[in-house]
Symmetry: C2
Subunit: 239 residues, 2 copies
């Protein structure tokens, strides 16, 4: 049974304010952002296939040539496929899942803009997902988070509801499922026109319970230009 | 009418792993952490009094001498008082509030371990609290946060509830109230033995609505040693 990873490279990156043309291709310690995740999967030995879900031809060819240059021998360890993203994030995930050769295996769905993924995270997620059926990398929420009541129409004189912090988790990626099961869930959600925030939401909508794998390490997503400097700062501290 | 600030310097700092003896006194750009907040209040001109709520005599005398050294002329602009903290955070806040000379004025309750406070935040909070009665500095939650169902006893096969991110806010400090009103709320909560996460929770328990002032700048709380390096990184980026 072959497990595979879906690396999402799409997304317009509009919040990057034009500072970089493509956040997953920007260089971080000499390697394009998305290839940090590729390297983690390669090192983990956990998957036999990796599917890059790309926004366009230009991005696809840049990723291809970067892999040839930085990981010339990677094809001995795993197969790499390239597909195009869809209109919504869910469409991109569906395209990626369709490309996996074994729908009975696990699919590690990962956001290419999270370069701090570690091989040990991948191995742990695989272990738990094989045992429980689905697993998500997540971190405990450390802030005091409150929820604005539905009745509050503005930020003035609000009713703020306390949320029990011990029950709050910030979702990260990878989010791992049986490929066939999550594909089915996504297709059903698409038919029902559900707006999904992430893959766990797709699983939940299909009644699939998900196990949490706590990540004690930072695993930020690059959204704004400052995030790149922050990741360089984090990486310097760890190495 | 005189407004005042309460700077909380207490807390055991046990999560600092013994790396520093007292997180609010550790030096950040040559100035003890808590005096960064003192300087912001001084610069803002918003308050006539500042009360330091200290954990013990040693801390109190260190703060006193640091103010003498770094802000020798500050006494021309505002009065500084020193009181001891209490057993719980709420007790410390009560002790600080009792020391304010004008209970009709605003009390800016601030965590001394948040050194990134800006004078402009203080001015904006004062403006809103004068208009609406209470204000809290807060930031939008950017992560996808889910809530574990009460029925989930472990992290295995969980039921994860989606929370509408547009309604989630991470509370920061200062949290600003009419001194007398928040003092009364804290005393009532203490009698009712309510466990309060923060001052907004005390206000909410007394039916006081609070206005949100969005802080678009990072305002982290120093909890673990890495937070100091992170703050140095943030400050370097801004200056």
């Amino acid at each position: 049974m072959a497990d595979g990873a879906i690396l999402l490279a799409g997304g317009s990156g509009s919040r990057m304010k034009g500072a970089v043309s493509d956040k997953v291709l920007v260089r971080l310690f000499g390697l394009p952002v998305i290839l940090h995740s590729f390297r983690a999967f390669l090192r983990s030995g956990a998957v036999g296939e990796i599917v890059f879900v790309c926004r366009d031809d230009a991005q696809m060819s840049k990723i291809k040539s970067a892999i040839k240059r930085h990981f010339p021998k990677s094809s001995k360890k795993l197969s790499v496929f390239y597909v195009y993203g869809g209109k919504e994030r869910g469409d991109s995930v569906i395209n990626g899942l369709e490309a996996l050769s074994d729908k009975q295996g696990l699919a590690f769905i990962h956001d290419g803009a999270r370069p701090m993924l570690r091989a040990e995270n991948i191995l742990r997620l695989g272990e738990i997902a094989r045992r429980d059926g689905a697993a998500v990398l997540a971190s405990r929420v450390v802030d005091t988070v409150k929820r604005l009541s539905k009745a509050s129409l503005s930020l003035s004189k609000c009713e703020l509801e306390d949320l029990d912090r011990s029950r709050l988790w910030a979702m990260q990626t990878p989010q791992v499922f049986r490929a066939g099961a999550i594909l089915k869930a996504y297709k059903a959600a698409k038919r029902a026109k559900l707006a999904l925030t992430d893959d766990v939401a797709a699983a939940s909508s299909a009644g699939i319970a998900v196990s949490i794998v706590e990540n004690e390490f930072a695993n930020p997503k690059i959204t704004v230009p400052e995030d790149l400097a922050y990741i360089e700062f984090l990486k310097k501290g760890k190495k």
